[in-house]
Protein backbone atom coordinates (compact mmCIF):
# COMPACT_ATOMS: atom_id res chain seq x y z
CA UNK A 1 0.00 0.00 0.00
CA UNK A 2 1.26 3.43 -0.79
CA UNK A 3 1.48 5.86 2.08
CA UNK A 4 1.32 9.65 2.30
CA UNK A 5 4.47 11.36 1.18
CA UNK A 6 3.15 14.90 1.34
CA UNK A 7 0.16 15.90 3.41
CA UNK A 8 -0.94 19.53 3.24
CA UNK A 9 -3.73 20.67 5.52
CA UNK A 10 -5.50 24.01 5.54
CA UNK A 11 -2.64 25.81 3.81
CA UNK A 12 -3.32 29.54 3.82
CA UNK A 13 -1.16 32.37 2.58
CA UNK A 14 -2.09 35.99 3.10
CA UNK A 15 -0.29 39.03 1.74
CA UNK A 16 -1.66 41.87 3.83
CA UNK A 17 -5.41 41.78 3.22
CA UNK A 18 -5.14 39.59 0.14
CA UNK A 19 -5.76 35.90 0.65
CA UNK A 20 -3.73 34.29 -2.11
CA UNK A 21 -4.22 30.73 -0.93
CA UNK A 22 -7.17 29.78 1.21
CA UNK A 23 -7.30 26.51 3.16
CA UNK A 24 -5.87 24.25 0.51
CA UNK A 25 -5.64 20.54 1.31
CA UNK A 26 -3.49 18.32 -0.81
CA UNK A 27 -1.92 14.89 -0.51
CA UNK A 28 0.69 13.09 -2.56
CA UNK A 29 1.29 9.38 -2.11
CA UNK A 30 4.41 7.49 -3.00
CA UNK A 31 4.84 6.94 -6.73
CA UNK A 32 2.03 9.25 -7.67
CA UNK A 33 1.74 12.04 -10.20
CA UNK A 34 -0.46 14.77 -8.77
CA UNK A 35 -1.38 17.92 -10.67
CA UNK A 36 -2.57 21.29 -9.49
CA UNK A 37 -4.53 23.19 -12.11
CA UNK A 38 -6.52 26.38 -12.15
CA UNK A 39 -6.97 29.59 -14.10
CA UNK A 40 -4.18 32.16 -14.20
CA UNK A 41 -3.68 33.88 -10.87
CA UNK A 42 -5.43 31.09 -8.98
CA UNK A 43 -2.54 30.79 -6.53
CA UNK A 44 -0.91 27.60 -7.83
CA UNK A 45 2.61 28.97 -7.77
CA UNK A 46 1.96 30.47 -4.35
CA UNK A 47 1.13 26.97 -3.13
CA UNK A 48 4.44 25.77 -4.56
CA UNK A 49 6.30 28.64 -2.93
CA UNK A 50 4.76 27.73 0.43
CA UNK A 51 5.67 24.07 0.06
CA UNK A 52 9.25 24.74 -1.02
CA UNK A 53 10.01 27.29 1.69
CA UNK A 54 10.01 30.50 -0.34
CA UNK A 55 7.08 31.74 1.67
CA UNK A 56 6.22 30.91 5.22
CA UNK A 57 2.52 29.99 5.14
CA UNK A 58 0.21 32.13 7.25
CA UNK A 59 -1.63 29.05 8.49
CA UNK A 60 -1.87 25.34 7.89
CA UNK A 61 0.50 22.45 8.06
CA UNK A 62 2.80 20.86 5.49
CA UNK A 63 3.87 17.36 6.45
CA UNK A 64 6.56 15.75 4.32
CA UNK A 65 7.40 12.14 5.19
CA UNK A 66 5.54 12.71 8.45
CA UNK A 67 7.57 15.74 9.38
CA UNK A 68 6.38 19.36 9.57
CA UNK A 69 8.28 21.42 7.01
CA UNK A 70 6.24 24.65 6.97
CA UNK A 71 8.54 27.42 8.17
CA UNK A 72 11.77 25.65 7.20
CA UNK A 73 14.22 27.44 4.91
CA UNK A 74 14.16 26.52 1.22
CA UNK A 75 17.51 24.72 1.25
CA UNK A 76 16.54 22.73 4.35
CA UNK A 77 13.42 21.53 2.57
CA UNK A 78 15.34 20.58 -0.55
CA UNK A 79 17.69 18.55 1.64
CA UNK A 80 14.70 16.63 2.98
CA UNK A 81 14.10 15.37 -0.55
CA UNK A 82 11.56 17.83 -1.88
CA UNK A 83 12.96 19.76 -4.83
CA UNK A 84 11.35 22.02 -7.38
CA UNK A 85 11.78 23.75 -10.70
CA UNK A 86 10.56 27.21 -11.59
CA UNK A 87 8.27 28.61 -14.25
CA UNK A 88 11.26 30.15 -15.94
CA UNK A 89 14.43 28.16 -16.56
CA UNK A 90 17.05 28.73 -13.88
CA UNK A 91 20.12 26.95 -15.15
CA UNK A 92 23.67 28.18 -14.67
CA UNK A 93 23.73 29.25 -18.28
CA UNK A 94 27.45 30.08 -18.51
CA UNK A 95 28.40 26.65 -17.22
CA UNK A 96 28.45 23.43 -19.17
CA UNK A 97 25.71 20.84 -18.88
CA UNK A 98 27.89 18.46 -16.90
CA UNK A 99 28.99 21.25 -14.55
CA UNK A 100 25.36 22.04 -13.83
CA UNK A 101 24.89 18.42 -12.88
CA UNK A 102 27.97 18.40 -10.65
CA UNK A 103 27.16 21.62 -8.79
CA UNK A 104 23.87 20.04 -7.74
CA UNK A 105 25.86 17.26 -6.06
CA UNK A 106 28.27 19.59 -4.29
CA UNK A 107 26.79 18.70 -0.93
CA UNK A 108 27.41 14.98 -1.39
CA UNK A 109 31.04 15.75 -2.19
CA UNK A 110 31.67 17.57 1.05
CA UNK A 111 34.93 15.98 2.04
CA UNK A 112 36.89 18.96 3.27
CA UNK A 113 39.64 21.04 1.80
CA UNK A 114 42.56 18.73 2.53
CA UNK A 115 40.89 15.73 0.95
CA UNK A 116 40.27 17.80 -2.16
CA UNK A 117 43.79 19.15 -2.21
CA UNK A 118 45.45 15.75 -1.99
CA UNK A 119 42.76 13.87 -3.89
CA UNK A 120 42.43 11.14 -1.33
CA UNK A 121 40.90 7.82 -2.45
CA UNK A 122 37.59 8.55 -0.72
CA UNK A 123 37.45 11.94 -2.43
CA UNK A 124 38.08 10.36 -5.80
CA UNK A 125 35.46 7.71 -5.18
CA UNK A 126 32.86 10.36 -4.32
CA UNK A 127 33.81 12.37 -7.39
CA UNK A 128 33.48 9.31 -9.56
CA UNK A 129 30.08 8.53 -8.08
CA UNK A 130 28.91 12.08 -8.73
CA UNK A 131 30.13 11.84 -12.30
CA UNK A 132 28.43 8.48 -12.80
CA UNK A 133 25.16 9.80 -11.44
CA UNK A 134 25.41 12.89 -13.66
CA UNK A 135 26.02 10.73 -16.72
CA UNK A 136 23.20 8.36 -15.80
CA UNK A 137 20.69 11.19 -15.60
CA UNK A 138 21.94 12.92 -18.71
CA UNK A 139 21.32 9.64 -20.52
CA UNK A 140 17.84 9.44 -19.03
CA UNK A 141 16.92 12.87 -20.39
CA UNK A 142 18.80 12.29 -23.64
CA UNK A 143 21.36 15.04 -23.15
CA UNK A 144 24.57 13.03 -22.89
CA UNK A 145 25.73 14.22 -26.31
CA UNK A 146 25.51 17.81 -25.10
CA UNK A 147 27.38 17.22 -21.83
CA UNK A 148 30.16 19.68 -22.63
CA UNK A 149 28.02 22.37 -24.19
CA UNK A 150 27.23 25.56 -22.34
CA UNK A 151 23.76 25.08 -20.94
CA UNK A 152 22.69 28.53 -22.11
CA UNK A 153 23.15 27.35 -25.71
CA UNK A 154 20.76 24.43 -25.45
CA UNK A 155 17.34 24.59 -27.01
CA UNK A 156 14.51 25.50 -24.67
CA UNK A 157 13.21 21.96 -24.50
CA UNK A 158 16.68 20.65 -23.69
CA UNK A 159 17.08 23.26 -20.96
CA UNK A 160 13.82 22.10 -19.42
CA UNK A 161 14.99 18.49 -19.44
CA UNK A 162 18.36 19.46 -17.99
CA UNK A 163 16.60 21.20 -15.12
CA UNK A 164 14.73 18.01 -14.32
CA UNK A 165 17.93 15.97 -14.54
CA UNK A 166 19.68 18.44 -12.29
CA UNK A 167 16.94 18.03 -9.72
CA UNK A 168 17.15 14.26 -10.00
CA UNK A 169 20.85 14.01 -9.12
CA UNK A 170 20.02 15.46 -5.73
CA UNK A 171 18.07 12.21 -5.19
CA UNK A 172 14.68 13.68 -4.29
CA UNK A 173 11.59 11.77 -3.28
CA UNK A 174 9.15 14.42 -4.43
CA UNK A 175 9.77 16.53 -7.50
CA UNK A 176 7.68 19.66 -7.93
CA UNK A 177 7.49 20.95 -11.49
CA UNK A 178 6.11 24.43 -12.09
CA UNK A 179 4.70 24.54 -15.62
CA UNK A 180 7.35 22.31 -17.17
CA UNK A 181 5.62 22.27 -20.56
CA UNK A 182 5.30 26.05 -20.90
CA UNK A 183 6.87 27.11 -24.18
CA UNK A 184 7.47 23.58 -25.45
CA UNK A 185 6.31 22.41 -28.86
CA UNK A 186 3.95 19.40 -29.07
CA UNK A 187 6.82 17.02 -29.73
CA UNK A 188 8.81 18.22 -26.75
CA UNK A 189 5.70 18.07 -24.60
CA UNK A 190 5.25 14.43 -25.57
CA UNK A 191 8.85 13.66 -24.57
CA UNK A 192 8.32 15.44 -21.27
CA UNK A 193 5.17 13.42 -20.73
CA UNK A 194 7.12 10.19 -21.20
CA UNK A 195 9.91 11.40 -18.95
CA UNK A 196 7.55 12.21 -16.08
CA UNK A 197 5.90 8.80 -16.34
CA UNK A 198 9.33 7.15 -16.41
CA UNK A 199 10.33 9.04 -13.27
CA UNK A 200 7.33 7.61 -11.48
CA UNK A 201 7.41 4.08 -12.82
CA UNK A 202 11.13 3.37 -13.05
CA UNK A 203 12.64 5.68 -10.47
CA UNK A 204 9.80 5.47 -8.01
CA UNK A 205 9.51 9.12 -7.14
CA UNK A 206 6.40 11.23 -6.81
CA UNK A 207 5.71 14.29 -8.88
CA UNK A 208 3.64 17.33 -8.05
CA UNK A 209 2.85 19.28 -11.17
CA UNK A 210 1.48 22.71 -12.02
CA UNK A 211 0.52 22.78 -15.65
CA UNK A 212 -1.70 24.58 -18.11
CA UNK A 213 -1.35 21.98 -20.85
CA UNK A 214 -4.54 20.04 -20.20
CA UNK A 215 -3.56 17.24 -22.55
CA UNK A 216 -0.47 16.58 -20.46
CA UNK A 217 -2.26 16.90 -17.15
CA UNK A 218 -5.22 14.69 -18.03
CA UNK A 219 -3.00 12.08 -19.64
CA UNK A 220 -0.56 11.44 -16.82
CA UNK A 221 -2.06 12.54 -13.52
CA UNK A 222 -3.12 10.04 -10.89
CA UNK A 223 -4.95 12.78 -9.06
CA UNK A 224 -5.83 16.36 -9.91
CA UNK A 225 -6.57 19.33 -7.68
CA UNK A 226 -8.33 22.38 -9.05
CA UNK A 227 -7.80 25.74 -7.41
CA UNK A 228 -9.62 28.94 -8.34
CA UNK A 229 -8.97 32.27 -6.68
CA UNK A 230 -6.87 30.61 -4.03
CA UNK A 231 -9.62 28.27 -2.93
CA UNK A 232 -9.88 24.55 -3.59
CA UNK A 233 -12.60 23.92 -6.13
CA UNK A 234 -12.50 20.22 -6.83
CA UNK A 235 -10.26 17.20 -6.80
CA UNK A 236 -10.36 13.76 -8.32
CA UNK A 237 -9.09 11.79 -11.28
CA UNK A 238 -9.06 13.13 -14.82
CA UNK A 239 -12.61 12.03 -15.62
CA UNK A 240 -14.06 13.54 -12.46
CA UNK A 241 -12.41 16.86 -13.25
CA UNK A 242 -13.39 16.92 -16.90
CA UNK A 243 -17.04 16.47 -16.01
CA UNK A 244 -17.16 18.69 -12.95
CA UNK A 245 -19.51 21.63 -13.66
CA UNK A 246 -17.71 23.92 -11.17
CA UNK A 247 -14.42 23.40 -12.96
CA UNK A 248 -15.93 24.07 -16.34
CA UNK A 249 -17.49 27.23 -14.96
CA UNK A 250 -14.21 28.41 -13.46
CA UNK A 251 -12.37 27.93 -16.72
CA UNK A 252 -14.99 29.09 -19.18
CA UNK A 253 -17.02 31.52 -17.08
CA UNK A 254 -20.78 31.42 -16.60
CA UNK A 255 -22.74 30.83 -19.74
Amino acid sequence: MSQLLLDVNGLTMQFGGLVAVNKVNLTVKNRQIVSVIGPNGAGKTTVFNCLSGFYIPTAGSVMFKGKEIAGMKDFQISRQGLVRTFQHVRLFSNMTVIENMLVAQHRHLNTGLLAGLFKTPSYRRLEQEAMDRAIFWLKEVDLLDSANRESGNLSYGQQRRLEIARCMVTQPELLMLDEPAAGLNPNETKELDELIIKLRDEHEISILLIEHDMGLVMGISDHIYVIAQGTPLADGNADDIKNNPDVIKAYLGES
Binding site: M95, E99, V103, H106, R107, G116, T170
Partner: protein
Protein backbone atom coordinates in the same frame (compact mmCIF):
# COMPACT_ATOMS: atom_id res chain seq x y z
CA UNK B 1 65.17 52.85 -32.06
CA UNK B 2 64.43 56.46 -31.44
CA UNK B 3 64.39 58.07 -28.05
CA UNK B 4 60.62 58.50 -27.97
CA UNK B 5 59.97 54.83 -28.60
CA UNK B 6 62.45 53.73 -25.94
CA UNK B 7 60.86 56.13 -23.51
CA UNK B 8 57.45 54.73 -24.36
CA UNK B 9 58.67 51.16 -23.81
CA UNK B 10 59.99 52.16 -20.40
CA UNK B 11 56.60 53.61 -19.45
CA UNK B 12 54.81 50.50 -20.63
CA UNK B 13 57.08 48.32 -18.48
CA UNK B 14 56.43 50.50 -15.43
CA UNK B 15 52.74 50.68 -16.16
CA UNK B 16 52.29 46.94 -16.58
CA UNK B 17 54.15 46.35 -13.32
CA UNK B 18 51.86 48.60 -11.30
CA UNK B 19 48.86 47.51 -13.33
CA UNK B 20 49.39 43.84 -12.54
CA UNK B 21 49.29 44.59 -8.82
CA UNK B 22 46.11 46.64 -9.32
CA UNK B 23 44.72 43.59 -11.09
CA UNK B 24 45.53 41.35 -8.12
CA UNK B 25 43.67 43.63 -5.74
CA UNK B 26 40.83 44.22 -8.21
CA UNK B 27 40.09 40.49 -8.38
CA UNK B 28 39.08 40.61 -4.73
CA UNK B 29 36.54 43.34 -5.43
CA UNK B 30 35.19 41.69 -8.50
CA UNK B 31 34.78 38.20 -7.03
CA UNK B 32 32.93 39.46 -3.98
CA UNK B 33 30.73 41.66 -6.14
CA UNK B 34 30.08 38.81 -8.55
CA UNK B 35 28.74 36.61 -5.78
CA UNK B 36 26.98 38.84 -3.29
CA UNK B 37 26.66 42.08 -5.25
CA UNK B 38 28.46 44.11 -2.65
CA UNK B 39 31.50 46.40 -2.86
CA UNK B 40 33.87 45.43 -0.08
CA UNK B 41 35.38 48.81 0.69
CA UNK B 42 37.58 47.32 3.39
CA UNK B 43 39.47 45.36 0.73
CA UNK B 44 42.16 48.05 0.28
CA UNK B 45 42.94 47.76 3.99
CA UNK B 46 43.59 44.05 3.56
CA UNK B 47 46.22 44.96 1.00
CA UNK B 48 47.70 47.41 3.52
CA UNK B 49 47.71 44.77 6.25
CA UNK B 50 49.38 42.34 3.85
CA UNK B 51 52.10 44.94 3.26
CA UNK B 52 52.63 45.46 6.98
CA UNK B 53 52.90 41.76 7.68
CA UNK B 54 55.47 41.48 4.89
CA UNK B 55 57.49 44.27 6.48
CA UNK B 56 57.28 42.80 9.94
CA UNK B 57 58.19 39.29 8.83
CA UNK B 58 61.07 40.37 6.57
CA UNK B 59 62.47 42.72 9.19
CA UNK B 60 62.19 39.97 11.76
CA UNK B 61 63.87 37.37 9.57
CA UNK B 62 66.67 39.77 8.60
CA UNK B 63 67.12 40.58 12.28
CA UNK B 64 67.42 36.87 13.03
CA UNK B 65 70.26 36.76 10.56
CA UNK B 66 68.56 34.84 7.77
CA UNK B 67 70.26 35.51 4.45
CA UNK B 68 68.59 33.26 1.92
CA UNK B 69 66.42 35.60 -0.15
CA UNK B 70 64.05 32.98 -1.63
CA UNK B 71 63.43 31.53 1.83
CA UNK B 72 62.73 34.97 3.33
CA UNK B 73 60.31 35.81 0.53
CA UNK B 74 58.60 32.45 0.80
CA UNK B 75 58.09 32.72 4.56
CA UNK B 76 56.88 36.31 4.21
CA UNK B 77 54.46 35.24 1.50
CA UNK B 78 53.00 32.35 3.46
CA UNK B 79 52.58 34.32 6.67
CA UNK B 80 51.14 37.40 5.04
CA UNK B 81 48.69 35.37 2.94
CA UNK B 82 47.58 33.39 5.99
CA UNK B 83 47.08 36.40 8.22
CA UNK B 84 45.43 38.55 5.55
CA UNK B 85 43.06 35.69 4.68
CA UNK B 86 42.14 35.41 8.32
CA UNK B 87 41.32 39.11 8.30
CA UNK B 88 39.28 38.71 5.12
CA UNK B 89 37.32 35.81 6.56
CA UNK B 90 36.76 37.58 9.88
CA UNK B 91 35.55 40.78 8.23
CA UNK B 92 32.95 38.86 6.27
CA UNK B 93 31.88 36.93 9.33
CA UNK B 94 31.47 39.86 11.73
CA UNK B 95 30.68 42.83 9.49
CA UNK B 96 28.83 41.49 6.44
CA UNK B 97 27.20 38.14 7.10
CA UNK B 98 24.88 39.41 9.85
CA UNK B 99 23.70 42.10 7.43
CA UNK B 100 23.04 39.83 4.48
CA UNK B 101 19.54 40.15 3.05
CA UNK B 102 19.14 43.71 4.24
CA UNK B 103 19.08 46.81 2.06
CA UNK B 104 22.31 46.78 0.06
CA UNK B 105 23.43 50.16 1.40
CA UNK B 106 23.78 48.75 4.89
CA UNK B 107 26.66 46.32 4.28
CA UNK B 108 28.32 49.05 2.22
CA UNK B 109 28.32 51.38 5.21
CA UNK B 110 29.53 48.54 7.38
CA UNK B 111 32.40 48.06 4.93
CA UNK B 112 33.40 51.71 5.14
CA UNK B 113 33.30 51.46 8.93
CA UNK B 114 35.46 48.35 8.77
CA UNK B 115 37.92 50.17 6.55
CA UNK B 116 38.23 53.09 9.00
CA UNK B 117 38.55 50.66 11.90
CA UNK B 118 41.36 48.68 10.27
CA UNK B 119 43.26 51.78 9.25
CA UNK B 120 43.17 53.18 12.77
CA UNK B 121 43.91 49.80 14.26
CA UNK B 122 47.17 49.71 12.29
CA UNK B 123 47.93 53.36 13.15
CA UNK B 124 47.54 52.60 16.84
CA UNK B 125 49.41 49.32 16.84
CA UNK B 126 52.18 50.14 14.35
CA UNK B 127 52.37 53.94 14.41
CA UNK B 128 51.40 56.26 11.60
CA UNK B 129 54.86 56.92 10.20
CA UNK B 130 56.31 55.24 7.14
CA UNK B 131 58.02 51.92 7.64
CA UNK B 132 60.86 51.10 5.27
CA UNK B 133 62.75 48.08 4.01
CA UNK B 134 66.14 47.88 2.33
CA UNK B 135 65.87 46.86 -1.35
CA UNK B 136 65.62 43.07 -1.44
CA UNK B 137 65.78 42.36 -5.13
CA UNK B 138 68.14 44.70 -6.94
CA UNK B 139 69.67 44.78 -10.38
CA UNK B 140 68.13 44.27 -13.78
CA UNK B 141 68.66 44.57 -17.48
CA UNK B 142 69.14 47.72 -19.47
CA UNK B 143 68.89 48.07 -23.20
CA UNK B 144 68.70 50.84 -25.73
CA UNK B 145 71.25 53.39 -26.82
CA UNK B 146 72.93 54.94 -23.73
CA UNK B 147 73.39 58.25 -25.57
CA UNK B 148 69.65 58.54 -26.19
CA UNK B 149 67.61 56.73 -23.57
CA UNK B 150 68.29 53.58 -21.64
CA UNK B 151 65.35 51.35 -20.87
CA UNK B 152 65.67 49.48 -17.59
CA UNK B 153 63.77 46.37 -16.69
CA UNK B 154 64.60 45.40 -13.14
CA UNK B 155 64.61 41.92 -11.64
CA UNK B 156 62.02 43.24 -9.21
CA UNK B 157 59.68 44.12 -12.07
CA UNK B 158 60.20 40.71 -13.61
CA UNK B 159 59.47 39.17 -10.23
CA UNK B 160 56.18 41.09 -10.01
CA UNK B 161 55.19 40.01 -13.52
CA UNK B 162 55.99 36.37 -12.89
CA UNK B 163 54.38 36.30 -9.44
CA UNK B 164 51.21 37.93 -10.77
CA UNK B 165 51.07 35.57 -13.72
CA UNK B 166 51.52 32.47 -11.56
CA UNK B 167 48.90 33.68 -9.09
CA UNK B 168 46.38 34.31 -11.82
CA UNK B 169 47.09 30.97 -13.41
CA UNK B 170 46.45 29.33 -10.05
CA UNK B 171 43.23 31.26 -9.62
CA UNK B 172 42.05 30.36 -13.13
CA UNK B 173 42.70 26.67 -12.48
CA UNK B 174 40.93 26.88 -9.15
CA UNK B 175 37.87 28.58 -10.62
CA UNK B 176 37.60 26.40 -13.69
CA UNK B 177 38.61 23.00 -12.33
CA UNK B 178 37.95 22.67 -8.62
CA UNK B 179 34.71 21.74 -6.96
CA UNK B 180 34.71 24.94 -4.91
CA UNK B 181 35.48 27.00 -8.00
CA UNK B 182 32.51 25.42 -9.71
CA UNK B 183 30.33 26.35 -6.76
CA UNK B 184 31.72 29.92 -6.91
CA UNK B 185 30.72 30.23 -10.55
CA UNK B 186 27.30 28.81 -9.81
CA UNK B 187 26.81 31.32 -6.99
CA UNK B 188 27.80 34.22 -9.18
CA UNK B 189 25.14 33.21 -11.71
CA UNK B 190 22.27 32.46 -9.35
CA UNK B 191 23.01 32.27 -5.65
CA UNK B 192 19.41 31.44 -4.73
CA UNK B 193 19.34 28.42 -7.02
CA UNK B 194 22.76 27.28 -5.84
CA UNK B 195 21.54 27.40 -2.29
CA UNK B 196 18.43 25.46 -3.24
CA UNK B 197 20.56 22.75 -4.81
CA UNK B 198 22.07 22.14 -1.39
CA UNK B 199 25.36 24.01 -1.73
CA UNK B 200 26.43 25.72 1.50
CA UNK B 201 26.57 29.20 0.00
CA UNK B 202 27.86 30.77 3.22
CA UNK B 203 30.96 28.68 2.81
CA UNK B 204 31.33 29.69 -0.82
CA UNK B 205 31.07 33.37 0.16
CA UNK B 206 33.64 32.91 2.93
CA UNK B 207 35.97 31.22 0.44
CA UNK B 208 35.61 34.17 -1.92
CA UNK B 209 36.65 36.58 0.81
CA UNK B 210 39.61 34.37 1.71
CA UNK B 211 40.81 34.18 -1.90
CA UNK B 212 40.37 37.93 -2.42
CA UNK B 213 42.34 38.65 0.75
CA UNK B 214 45.09 36.23 -0.23
CA UNK B 215 45.50 37.95 -3.60
CA UNK B 216 45.54 41.38 -1.93
CA UNK B 217 48.22 40.11 0.44
CA UNK B 218 50.32 38.94 -2.50
CA UNK B 219 49.92 42.40 -4.05
CA UNK B 220 50.91 43.88 -0.68
CA UNK B 221 54.07 41.79 -0.60
CA UNK B 222 55.03 42.66 -4.18
CA UNK B 223 54.42 46.39 -3.82
CA UNK B 224 56.18 46.68 -0.47
CA UNK B 225 59.23 45.06 -2.03
CA UNK B 226 58.91 47.35 -5.05
CA UNK B 227 58.45 50.63 -3.21
CA UNK B 228 60.26 49.70 -0.01
CA UNK B 229 57.93 51.84 2.12
CA UNK B 230 54.45 51.51 3.56
CA UNK B 231 52.18 53.40 5.91
CA UNK B 232 48.70 52.75 7.30
CA UNK B 233 47.08 54.93 4.65
CA UNK B 234 48.24 53.18 1.47
CA UNK B 235 45.19 50.91 1.49
CA UNK B 236 42.81 53.73 0.74
CA UNK B 237 44.34 54.82 -2.55
CA UNK B 238 45.26 51.29 -3.64
CA UNK B 239 41.72 50.19 -2.88
CA UNK B 240 40.23 53.03 -4.92
CA UNK B 241 42.54 52.30 -7.83
CA UNK B 242 41.76 48.61 -7.78
CA UNK B 243 38.06 49.38 -7.52
CA UNK B 244 38.42 51.61 -10.58
CA UNK B 245 40.21 48.78 -12.36
CA UNK B 246 37.42 46.36 -11.48
CA UNK B 247 34.72 48.74 -12.74
CA UNK B 248 36.75 49.52 -15.85
CA UNK B 249 36.99 45.86 -16.77
CA UNK B 250 33.40 45.10 -15.79
CA UNK B 251 32.71 44.38 -12.16
CA UNK B 252 31.98 40.72 -11.56
CA UNK B 253 34.32 39.56 -14.33
CA UNK B 254 37.72 38.20 -13.32
CA UNK B 255 39.37 38.62 -16.75
CA UNK B 256 37.84 42.10 -16.73
CA UNK B 257 39.56 42.94 -13.45
CA UNK B 258 42.91 41.86 -14.89
CA UNK B 259 42.38 43.84 -18.09
CA UNK B 260 41.15 46.87 -16.15
CA UNK B 261 44.16 46.74 -13.82
CA UNK B 262 46.63 46.61 -16.68
CA UNK B 263 44.90 49.41 -18.61
CA UNK B 264 44.77 51.59 -15.52
CA UNK B 265 48.44 50.97 -14.69
CA UNK B 266 49.58 51.78 -18.22
CA UNK B 267 47.35 54.86 -18.42
CA UNK B 268 48.82 56.17 -15.17
CA UNK B 269 52.38 55.54 -16.26
CA UNK B 270 51.82 57.27 -19.59
CA UNK B 271 50.14 60.24 -17.91
CA UNK B 272 52.99 60.59 -15.46
CA UNK B 273 55.46 60.39 -18.33
CA UNK B 274 54.02 63.08 -20.55
CA UNK B 275 52.24 65.37 -18.06
CA UNK B 276 53.07 66.53 -14.56
CA UNK B 277 52.91 63.34 -12.52
CA UNK B 278 50.28 64.76 -10.15
CA UNK B 279 47.83 64.32 -13.00
CA UNK B 280 47.96 60.55 -12.94
CA UNK B 281 45.24 60.23 -10.30
CA UNK B 282 43.14 62.82 -12.12
CA UNK B 283 43.33 60.79 -15.30
CA UNK B 284 42.71 57.48 -13.48
CA UNK B 285 39.53 58.67 -11.87
CA UNK B 286 38.39 60.56 -14.97
CA UNK B 287 38.60 57.19 -16.66
CA UNK B 288 36.29 55.80 -13.97
CA UNK B 289 33.78 58.59 -14.58
CA UNK B 290 33.91 58.13 -18.35
CA UNK B 291 33.39 54.38 -18.08
CA UNK B 292 30.47 54.85 -15.72
CA UNK B 293 28.91 57.37 -18.12
CA UNK B 294 29.38 55.57 -21.39
CA UNK B 295 29.81 51.89 -20.61
CA UNK B 296 28.57 51.23 -17.09
CA UNK B 297 28.91 47.48 -17.47
CA UNK B 298 32.65 47.84 -18.13
CA UNK B 299 34.83 46.49 -20.92
CA UNK B 300 34.18 42.78 -20.39
CA UNK B 301 31.10 42.95 -18.19
CA UNK B 302 27.76 41.80 -19.47
CA UNK B 303 25.11 44.49 -19.69
CA UNK B 304 22.57 44.09 -16.94
CA UNK B 305 19.54 42.31 -18.36
CA UNK B 306 16.29 43.14 -16.68
CA UNK B 307 14.88 39.90 -15.32
CA UNK B 308 11.24 39.28 -16.05
Amino acid sequence: MSETILYLIQQLINGLTIGSTYALIAIGYTMVYGIIGMINFAHGEIYMIGSYITFIVIAGLLGMGMVSLPLILFIALVISVLIASTYGWTIERVAYRPLRGTNRLIPLISAIGMSIFLQNFVVLSQGSRDVALPPMISGGWTFGDPSLFEVSFSYMQLFIWVATFVTMLGLTLFISRSRMGRACRACSEDIGMTNLLGVDTNRVIATTFIIGAALAAIAGLLLSLYYGVANPFIGFMAGLKAFTAAVLGGIGSIPGAVLGGLILGVTEALTAAYFPSEYKDVVAFSLLILILLFRPSGLLGKPEVEKV
